[in-house]
Amino acid sequence: MPSELGYLFLASWLFVTAIFLYSAYWSFMIRRALVTSLYRRQAFWVGGMGVYFVALSVFLAFALTLEITELSINILGGLIISSGFILIFLWIDSTVSIARRSDPLFRDTLRWSKLRYLFWLVTIGGAIGALFTSINSGFSTVAGFGGALFFGAVALLLSAKRSGDMTLRRHLTWTGLCIFLLWLSSQLEQPLSYHFADPFLVQSLTVPLVAAGAYSLYRSAKSLVPLGHLMSTDADAPSISTSPAGPSS
């Protein structure tokens, strides 16, 4: 039976899950409205990552709260976490490539076109390691998202500064921020666990960062294209207002 802190932990994870789900919903709605494959693909990525984080959050919420340590759960956890390593890096890689096209000077941010191969190796190695760690020692002992994701987040934030496209600039900033916050929350778990014995307390302390990351993903989805708001119910001539790049929320 989970403790009171356990229930609080479960509730906060479900809250985070809801934000991820909402981000995924908007990404897929935007994707439906677009016709160009490049932007549809980008919307699909954001939506797909939202769905992935929903799966991860639900899994962590229940498996950690109910303290399940069966082998099958460890394998499932290992598969979810290690596939996340690869999916997130694939998302970053695709987004950095798109960002480069929008830089009027076509700069190779952080020498991404070359270093990406090294980071791919690191990411795949990390994913395999995470899977084995999860099977042998339990999914809760898997180390956080690696340095490749941090590097990716920095590359995205830098690409945002260099992009000549105001809409894409916002999208890249929110995407970079989302990845940075998720990376930071995963990195903080280990140092915090040295100070606090209760794993729920440690997780509860990092949840606000994950929630901020989830909110950034939502903003990333909504900033994919400039969205206007219909202000009037007048059917013949609705007056409108359009924010230059995405709505304020």
Partner: protein, 221 residues
């Protein structure tokens, strides 16, 4: 009037774009502005007009996009492209660009000319807006010597709104494509912001583009 290549849009505009006009399509990335350009080019080629497609992309990239829109039959226009065209497009050399366009259009003999381009956003990213306005104004003045329609697309949200507003001033017609958030859905809408010879319209039209077709219906919230 010059057919847009889309029946629904022709009906909306009263038979197409005005003769000897410059048309600007403004819209967010990915909404399908280029499809209007491809349709316009194809309708021209089918009618025997001279069509020049000026793009920052390579010809294979544009053709891939055309295939995605399922535009058939596809007849080859004259290309002024980043790669693979009759002439290479260099966005950093506005004088050369203007010269190339005029030279290629000069080959049209007495045919009607359609110039379709997607380079405005790139030009605005690489040059001060005033330089681009000046370049376009001079180009339009020269193209008016031919029986030509100039069709350009520009990205909304990529440039400052005042830049787009000023850009709209130098074109004869401006079509606006937008995505609107309504409750929990997203609605693509179209508006004729201005069109020479057509009374200004305030109303929006809902549009869908699929398999090379466009459907336009008056929008009622």
């Amino acid at each position: 009037m010059v057919s847009t290549g889309l029946e629904e849009l022709d009906r909306l505009l009263g038979n197409g774009y005005p003769d000897r006009s410059s048309i600007l399509v403004v819209g967010p990335p990915g909404i399908g502005k280029e499809a209007l350009g491809y349709r316009f080019a194809q309708s021209g080629l089918l009618q025997g007009d001279f069509c020049l497609y000026a793009t920052r992309l390579s010809v294979p990239e544009v053709l891939q996009d055309v295939r995605a829109y399922n535009i058939q039959p596809w007849l080859e226009p004259t290309w002024l492209a980043g790669q693979g065209g009759q002439e290479k497009l260099d966005l950093n050399d506005l004088t050369g660009l203007s010269f190339n366009i005029k030279e290629l259009v000069g080959k049209a003999d007495d045919k009607r000319v359609r110039v379709i381009t997607d380079i405005l956003s790139s030009l605005l990213m690489l040059n001060p807006p005033e330089t681009v306005y000046r370049f376009l104004s001079q180009l339009f003045a020269e193209l008016k010597n031919f029986d030509s329609v100039f069709f350009a697309t520009v990205e909304e949200g990529m440039h400052k709104p005042e830049v787009l507003a000023a850009m709209g001033q130098i074109f004869d017609g401006v079509l606006e494509l937008k995505l609107f958030e309504e409750s929990f859905r997203i609605v693509p809408l179209l508006r004729i912001r201005k069109m020479r010879g057509v009374p200004p319209e305030l109303g929006y039209y809902r549009f869908t583009m699929s398999h090379g077709r466009m459907e336009v219906t008056p929008y009622a919230k």
